[in-house]
Amino acid sequence: MSGLREKILTTASDLFQTQGINSTGVDTIVAAAGTTKMTMYKYFSSKEILILEVLKQGHQDFQSWLNDKLNTNSKKPAEKIQKLFDYIEEWVTSPDFHGIGFIKASAEFPKEENPVHQLSSEQSLQFRRYISQLATEANIKDADGLALQLSLIFEGAVQAEQMKRGSGAMKYAKMAAKILIDGAPTH
């Protein structure tokens, strides 16, 4: 049933976030999900496929969470990009934050030709395009440039936070983002 598929997916996602992707074995996942390897392989033909599915799901959740937050709380386009880092900070500093899938995955799979690495690069790019879109809506001239700067700051802060909880990196990231957004020329 699809309920079981979901169960495996969320269990794997939790384990990957808390224990790391490479160090979580298939045995651990099936034990924690209360199922068998056979069942797991019925839904996900390999661990790699499972990792890719977890990443896709996680990224989708992240994007829609962010979208909801921005759309319900900020009406003006110029406001959205300003608020972006507020929400991200809120989320990153919350107690159950264990890192962002695509950032962790690209660190664990550094080889360019690896499918997990490729997917995480793609997701990082999607996130950058999303910021770029917000920047365009806010009338910023070099929307792509600003998006690149902001995504570098954001990913760096998340990495720092993943290495050491409560590092404070996110606080400065937020301030730096504001400096960059305020300083970006508009049309």
Partner: protein, 253 residues
Amino acid sequence: MEIFDSPWLINMLAKSDTTPQGRLLSLFDILDDWLKAPHVQTSLHLAATRHALLIGYCTEQARALGAENPAILAEHIVLIAHSAAQQTLATHNTDSTSLSHAKKAAHALIQAQTQKPELAFASKTTRYGIAASLLLAFGIAALWLPDSIQNQPLQVQAKSKLMPIPAVQLMPSNEKSLSAHDATLMYAKYEQMRQGTCQLPEALLIPDKHKAIYLDNVVGGKLPANLADLAIANSYLEKVRCNFTPMLMAASK
């Protein structure tokens, strides 16, 4: 070849600029030049390890420019540089603007950590001027000392309370090029200075290239990074004149 962990990169950074901010931001220019040079466009892998040497160096610069949290600033800047370098390599494109945008991002982070938009402590020279004049007025009794010898209570005289100057914050010393003996001698001198009111009016006349050493190692009480700097720092330490309050008087306060 792991450029992020190479002493070559540290050397390039050290001579790239006269200000700590300039040295931090040069990281992006140096990497950009290096990655776009024809000979490195091979398949180069940037290992996802923590670049301890580079982060250590950047932490020093971050501290020198007065960052609120030098360790985090350094870590963040190196992470950004690493990601941007990877992007530059991945595109195999000499027009890649990743590192120049990364530089802007790093600059904003420096601003975020120094709050006041670079007015009060604009350059090393300005800060040096302030430190030197404070020395004239109060002496350098209020030395910051490493944790290793800070277990003794600080007997700083009230009149020598210095305003906190970002430039003279102390960093934990983990320099390898100095022997334990050199370190002991310097600490002994610092400890001695700490007991009295010390002055070096000639500090205002120190040549520019020695100012950083004077600030960090004599005023800041930090161990120099290498033997050449140690010799210079020692020569200034020798010139510092101290008035010592007799022990009995100090104890009776």
